[in-house]
Structures are given as structure tokens and as C-alpha cells.
Symmetry: D2
Subunit: 301 residues, 4 copies
């Protein structure tokens, strides 16, 4: 089928390639003229599509996605469908759908997982929206998803796709941190000369085998002991939103929260909180001051 695709970066570009190789006609647009775009403007892209049109938005979440959808609303017409495949917050989806429904434009949110491996292995899709809207784009979803029974879920109404993807990423944070803590403990002991060899062996037969474990084994194959990588990690929104949703629903999420906070801490050169601890220890115990030559340095508290 025909698809308009806005955003031809790493993710959008790969998705266009996978869709075309499965027989779809993709009219791509990116504001970057050096991209591999099929149209020089949103208008040109829309003009190249037959009604009812399906347009997939694959740009950064927040302001860029909101602006793109607002611009599309000016050039699309009733019966057309916009799919937001970026990493938007589910509350943005609910706002977008409400705005568009006045014009009769349908809206679907699609959480997409798979990263750079999606081109060849397929993308896991989690979509939210009305049944008829989802049905309009089903051939696209079928081509993007991996072969097999899984990899696609119509999770619920508008917002459910990104909510589900958000939870997916929250779980991902927790799992990654679990492996990370285990790796650090293996490095900390003298008993185990090669944590890398241990992780490699875990790829088969263990309870903890997973795709993330496979990726970590690839990483240590390139960089034994992870000596070349800095212990510094960004977070991309979904982790934060997961905790905000947990707070809204009064769900305890200690593991995923700890994983998020570990990333925050990794970006601090020094912890302001720990200055308070150090200052207090000095106040009640004079911990900074040693009494040389005494047998008696009972820590005071």
C-alpha cells in the first residue's frame, strides 16, 4: 500500500527500506534536503498519496512531533490517518487525537522497538487507536513486524501504544541495570578472572538468557572488560514517564526507579547529596581529622 513517512533518520530511513522491500510505496519526507527524501515538502508528500491517506510520523517526541502533526493537519483531510511512531508520551497522543477528530482525521500511536536491528529482524509494534484506524494501516504493521506470531499488539485505544512502549522501556531499564550490577560484582571479586567469559557462557541454558544478554556479549567481544566505554548513561524520556505513571497509579516500582536514578547519578561528576553526608559526618564525628599514633580511633557517631 501507499504510505507517507515523515522523518528519514536512522529509524525512519530503515523502516522505509524494510517497507519498500516488502512491496509498499513509501513517499518519504524529511526537512533535511540531503536526506533520501521523495518529496520536498509535506504538501508535496501529501499530494503524492491517494485518499484515504496514511502518514507515519517518525520524528523526535515533544515539540517536533507536535509541530509535524499540526502541519499535517493543515494538508490532510477527513478520512486520512496519522500514525505517530516516535517515542511520544501517551498523554500527547490523547491530545493529538482530540485535536484531529474535529477534522475527521484518524490517529494511531505506535510504539516501535527493535533499534538498529529492526531493519533485518523486524520491529516490535505496540499500537493504540480505534479498530478501523488500526485496520487501515495493518499491511504496514505486518511488513514492519518480525516474522512469527508475536511482535505486534493492538494494545488498546489511543495512547495505549505509547503507554505500552513506555512500560517496555521501563522494563528494559530494570533488566539492563540487573545485568550491570551483576557484571560489576563479578569484576569486584578476585575469584572470577573473566566476567566477559561468564556472560558469554550465560547465553545458553540459563534462566537469564535474553537478547540484551546477547548484545552485552557482542559489546564485550568488541571491548573486553568494557574499558573503552565511559560509565555515563543518558535516559530518553520513557523511563521518567514510567515512574510518573507509577506515581499516578500508586504502583511501587523500586527496580525501575533505581535503574533510572543510577543513570541520573552517572551524569554527576560529584553528588551534591553526598556533600551533605560528608559535612554531617564531619560535624558529629570530626571524621576528617585523624589522631595519628593512637590505637583509639573509634569512629564516633
Amino acid at each position: 500500500m501507499q504510505l507517507g513517512l515523515v522523518g528519514l533518520g536512522k529509524m525512519g530511513g530503515n523502516m522505509a527500506q524494510r517497507l519498500r522491500s516488502d512491496g509498499h510505496e513509501v513517499i518519504g519526507y524529511d526537512r533535511n534536503p540531503e536526506s533520501n527524501r521523495s518529496a520536498a515538502s509535506l504538501e508535496e508528500m501529501v499530494a503524492a498519496l491517494s485518499a484515504p491517506r496514511v502518514v507515519w510520523v517518525m520524528v523526535p517526541s515533544g515539540a517536533p512531533t507536535r509541530a509535524t502533526i499540526a502541519d499535517l493537519a493543515k494538508v490532510l483531510e477527513a478520512g486520512d490517518l496519522i500514525i505517530d511512531g516516535g517515542n511520544s508520551r501517551y498523554t500527547d497522543d490523547q491530545m493529538h487525537a482530540k485535536d484531529l477528530v474535529e477534522q475527521g482525521i484518524k490517529y494511531v500511536d505506535a510504539g516501535v522497538s527493535g533499534g538498529v536491528w529492526g531493519l533485518t529482524e523486524g520491529y516490535a509494534l505496540m499500537v493504540g487507536g480505534d479498530d478501523d484506524a488500526v485496520a487501515m494501516a495493518q499491511p504496514i504493521f505486518d511488513s514492519l513486524k518480525p516474522a512469527g506470531a508475536g511482535g505486534f499488539v493492538h494494545a488498546g485505544p489511543v495512547g495505549a501504544g505509547h503507554f505500552t512502549k513506555m512500560v517496555h522501556n521501563g522494563i528494559e531499564y530494570g533488566m539492563m541495570q540487573a545485568y550491570a550490577e551483576g557484571y560489576e560484582l563479578l569484576q569486584a571479586t578476585d575469584l572470577v578472572p573473566s566476567p566477559d567469559a561468564v556472560f558469554s557462557s550465560w547465553q545458553q541454558g540459563t534462566v537469564i538468557r535474553s537478547w540484551l544478554l546477547d548484545l552485552l556479549v557482542l559489546a564485550v567481544a568488541d571491548d573486553p572488560g568494557l574499558e573503552q566505554v565511559r560509565g555515563y548513561a543518558q535516559d530518553s524520556g520513557e523511563g521518567r514517564w514510567t515512574i510518573e505513571a507509577a506515581i499516578e497509579h500508586a504502583v511501587p516500582m523500586p527496580v525501575i526507579t533505581a535503574a533510572l536514578f543510577a543513570r541520573f547519578a552517572s551524569r554527576q561528576t560529584e553528588s551534591p547529596a553526598m556533600k551533605v553526608i560528608a559535612a554531617l559526618r564531619n560535624q558529629f564525628g570530626g571524621h576528617a581529622v585523624g589522631t595519628a599514633g593512637s590505637t583509639t580511633d573509634v569512629p564516633v557517631s
Copy 2:
């Protein structure tokens, strides 16, 4: 090759079956006369083995394993090998090896993962010990492990096998809790009618696909919404030891610790700590007392 195997329960029994089907001669002993044992006593089992003997101990960790190894030490001789395949703490291994070396008996510790699936899929093995001791049992390890390059690691000297298995289980705790928190949040929102369907779809193409996820999908297939299972979880030692090792090595492990504490909390009908919170709230705010009919119930604190 020949192997003495002490302990023919769920794990030991399956392992004996897998080894025999691969051509090994297993002389099994269990103190339970109704087990499928080949020998009626440790002495009888040892008498049936040619020197140098290899005996695999597969009994509960702690006192039962310590007693079994002490009994074996009386009937084995220099050059023989004892493998502790149970879930012993690595510090027990170091004690056992030290005791046995005086008699010239070799010692290897083997962490075994794979659960009830190991019989058909193979067991992941993490072993600790001297090279010559490990080599003596390599044919056994090769038959127990899954097909493929992974599933076996000689992790280091005595203790390294169980240390590695302990860390494996710690990671398992964290991963399981990450999935669990995500599942709870999906259940808490009205947006997603079927968290079960979401988890099923995640088996393909996602970053979080794993064997544990596959197992969870099997579980919800049997019991949709997990309505039949109680929210109550035991812990089996390795999680606790992992945190103790983290404390020893000053390694922060917030995720694995949170997962362990969630299990502790699941076994309390009421939290004693939260009684303190409730009592304090009542003291400073009279939170238990409402003023009916007033617009002004500003929570006091």
C-alpha cells in the same frame, strides 16, 4: 564415564537421566529408599566406582551438603573428586576444598541453571576449581550442558562456580522484578485491556525478549491475569548472598536489593514499619480524624 551421584530429587534425578541417555554410567544414591537409587549407601555407591572416582553431590545447600561431603570424605581416597552441584554458598566451597585437600581429594563447585527444563534443553554450568580437577569431569559437563558454544564456563578457582551462579540468580531476581513491575503498571491503567496480550507480543522483535519473558507468557496462558496465583514469593539464598557480597565489596546494587526486599515484603501480612509511619502521621496530623462538613481538611504536616 562413571559418575557417583548423591541426591536423586527433582534436579539430581533429571540429571542422571540426561547423563545416562548420553552414555554415562551413573551410580545414584539417595537416602530415600523409595528413590530410583542404584546403591543403598554411600559406601555401596563408592564401591561400585573405579578409581579415580568422580562423585557429584546434589543435595540441599548448607547442613545437608556439608554432612554429605564429610561422609564422602570418609569413604573416598586420594585422587578422587567431589563436585558440589547444589546451591551452596561459595564460602562453603572454600571450606570444603581446604578440608579435602589434606586427604588428596579434589573438589569442584558447579553452579547449575536451567530448572525443570534442563533435562531436555541442557543445564548451564558454572564451575570453579583447579584445571586438572575440572578436566576429570569434563565429559560429564559436556553431556549436561546445552548444545552450542555457551552454557559452560570454568569461572575460576574453587568457589568461582557458585559465586558466578549466585550472581546469575541475583540478576534473575532483578530481571523478574522488572517484568513484574511493568506487568503491575499495565494492570493498573485502564488504557490497556490485556497486559497478557502485550507480554505475548513482546516475545518477538523487542529489546526485552528473553527466556523469562517466554516463561511468563506460558504462565499467563495457563492463568490469564495471574488470578490464581498468590502474590507471595520465597527466596532461596543466592539473592541474599549476592547482597552480602555486594556489601563486602562496596558495590551498589539497588536493583537486585529492591527485588530481594520485594520478596521479603510479599511474605508479610502487614508491614511493621508502616505501623510506625501510620502512628507518626496520627501524632503530628491527627490524620485518622476527619472534620466532617468542613471545606478545610488541609492535611497537616
Copy 3:
């Protein structure tokens, strides 16, 4: 000076009493006709005040406070001052101030701590707003605050008062949970027959002596072992907002978050997350099934 006071519940009523006993004229209004109100409507209250008027709002945060401020905006005039002394979120303050500035009405937010003890001991005040607005109400603040150098801070511009109070309550959550965990551990050991006696002794000379500790000692004096109180705790907004602010500013807050999550968990009769853990343990280990009579129940994982 004159003060209009909207909301005569537990907090507002006590504050009116403290202000009057210090010589101020308080015109109180509450929508409840059975309250001890001086005026039967906002209009009547405002009519009783000389310009420029100062009106203190002490009603529940969220919709009630927003509605009260909107109603006041209709009857106040340029140069008057509204103080929100409730537990509003600081973002609400910023919205209120922006709305009111168009009419020339000044706005101050005041976080108030002290609970039911404030009547006699004074209320700690944290205020946000422009210098001239804060100055208009300084005599009121001076009467409400405790004697001594502390107990009042002009924390910054509009919103700073409630932001500061929010952080205060976040810290309170963490401190309370620290005592609670310690109390639970003392109860869990056989070594210490009376945790209550221990806590009582801690009121003097220790590093951890505090007003909260004093309150806890009062609580255990009334209810030894806290046997009469349920381990169930509400949370009142500020804890949640503190974590949301932490997420916004990428500040790791493991302790305050753990305290909040402990309250969430206390309100669950069963943890949905732990059902996942239990289901998984059953899948890989058949943990629900014991093999009676065997020596070999090595937990499988």
C-alpha cells in the same frame, strides 16, 4: 492587622485562634455554616476588610483551592493580596500568580508545617512571592511562626514557598521510613525485648534525636508495640510531587522514593508484581511442588 481567612478546619481554625490571641483581627469564612465563621460569604468577608486587603486561603489543594482563588479574584481589587497557605503544588502557584497579576492582585504562597502542635508551638512558614507582597503580610507571619530565630523563610519568588514545603515533606517521608525500618528490625530480633524502651532512650544524647522521634515515643507510650495501629499509610501529594520534581531535575532520590513506594505497597492487600514473581518461579522451578521424602530438593533456577 486585619486578615481574611478562608477555611476554618483543623488547620485554619487553629491559625485563626493563634492570630487573634496575638492581637490580629481575623475575619473568617468557611462554606460550612456550622463552622465558627465571621462572615457568611466571601463577599461579606471582603466587605469587612479595609483595602489593601490580605486574604489567607486555607482549603484543600487542587480544585478547592483553585476555585476559591477564582472566586476571590471576583471580589478583590488591585493592591489586595492573596496568600495560599494550603498544600498546593508549586506549579499551581505560578498559574495563580499569573492569572491574578492581570488584575493587580498580589499573590504569595506559604507552606505551613507544624500540624496540630502549631497552635501552641507556632507554625514553620516557607513563603514565596515578591518582596512587597511578603512584606504586606509579615505581621501575620511573625505571629504564626514559633518564637526564636527560625521558623520563617522567604524562600524565593512565587512557588518557592510550596516547593520548599514539598521538599520538607519529602525529607519527612524519608526520615519517618528510616525510623520505621529500624523499629521493624528491632522487633524482628529476639535480642531486644523492648524496642519501645530503646526508642525512648534515644531521645537524649543520640545523633538521631528529633521531634519525629519524640512523637514516636508518645505513640508507643499510648500503644506499646504499636499493636493497635494498622500498617497502612496514606500519602498526601507532596511526596509524589517531590519525586516528580526529582525526575524533572534528574536528581537521584532513592531514599525519599523508597519511602513513598513503601506507602503505596502498604495499601495493597496483595502485590500484583509478586504474582508475576511467583508465577515465574513456578514455571522454571516447579517451586510449588515438593518431592516428599527426598533428600534432594535443590532449589532449581
Copy 4:
């Protein structure tokens, strides 16, 4: 009364001074000849005391305390009493008491809180031991403790004193971290120009007023914004033991554990765990690689 005191460092020296000023005769010994010691050896110290003797040991916990008690056992006799006032683990106390009872030497463990302020304000004491042993030293305890009803508790049998002190310190960790997190969040917002002023104001009227808060206000008076102190904190044993005891008793202690882990993390220049996170993010998302000039940098996951 007479007291032998081994260890004349910061804590022991101050305690000797407080006891002497209250009329006790203190025979002090320290292995450091430059200390203010009354005796040049343990033997000389013991010889200066009339039976039944009371000797207070105030040296670092672990090996030094164990060695000192072993040495004292050689020179004391039946009916004498040893008090360990250091920061020993309660399990060491149980071992010491068991060893000494064979010689008829009594044993009491005393947890001491108060730090450098104890000299003037008194030390909070938590003691464990038999009634008759505690009674022998009651005049010493009475002089060391602060004036007032609190500050002393006979918490239970041998070990209960140090167990109680351990829990006290665990609570202290949690409280300090709660203040620290709040301070960091106030620093992170632009709304509050002076977190120091806020903390100072909190000393009166608030729910969170405490001695630790008073100390923090002293600290920021010396060093506004804590700019001179490094965000680096040691831990002194009791925090670790508290978590180990929590694990032993299956008590969830998320707050105190988080406080301990924050100290561990503060001593790492880089987190090994976060290298794993960064490596994984790079594997699945190519997060280190940006596509310049594209509108489409949807984070991939």
C-alpha cells in the same frame, strides 16, 4: 568508682575527662606512649584497680578489640567485668562473652552515641548484658549519659547493646540521606536561591527538626553551599551490618540500604555498572552516533 579505660583517642579521651569531672577514678591505658595514659601497660592498669575490676575497652572494632579483650583476659580474674564500648558487631560480643564466661569474667557491650559533642552533652548509651554485670558499671553509665530521663537503655542480653547501636546508626544513615536528597533538590531548582537559608529556618516549628538538622545548619554556616566539601563519604561498619541483619531477618530496609549504596557510589570515580548500560545502549541503538542534519533522531530502543 574506679574504672580501667583502654584506648585514649578522641572518644576514650573525652570519656575519661567526663568521668573524672564527675568524681570517678579513671586509670587509662593506650599503647601510644604520647597519650595521656595513667599506666604503661595493661598489667600496670589492672594492678592499679581493686577487685572486682571494671575495664572499659574503647579501641577500634574488629581485630584491635578482639586482641585487647584477649590480652585483658590474661590479666583479669573471676568477678571482673569487661565493657566493650567500641563499635563492635554484636556477633563479636556473643563470642567474647562465651570465651570470658569460662574464666568467670563478666562482659557487657555498650553502644555509645554522641560524637565529639558527648564530652559536654553526655553520651547516649545502649548496653547489653546480664543484670548484675550492668549494675556493676551503673555509676559509670550514669556519669556518661546526658542529664534527663533518656540517654541510657539496658537493651537486652549480651549483644543487644551493639545491636541497638547498629540500628541507631542505620537510622542515622537513612535520615542523613533524606536531608541530603532534599538539599540537592533545592540546589537543583532555580526557584530557591538559598537552600542554606531554608535549612536554617527549618530548625524551628517544622516536623523535620532534629539534631542532625542543627548540625547541617552549623556546617552550611561554615561553608555556604557546601562548596568546600567533597561529595565523598565513608561508611563505618554499622550500616553494612544493619543490612546484613535485615537480610538475616527478612526485613525489607529500602531506605537504609539506599543510603548505604549512595555512600558506596560516592567513592567510585566511575560506575562499572553504568559502563554496561552505556555499552548496551550503544549496541541496540547506536546511541553514541548521531545523524547530523536530520530531523529524525528518534531514540531507538
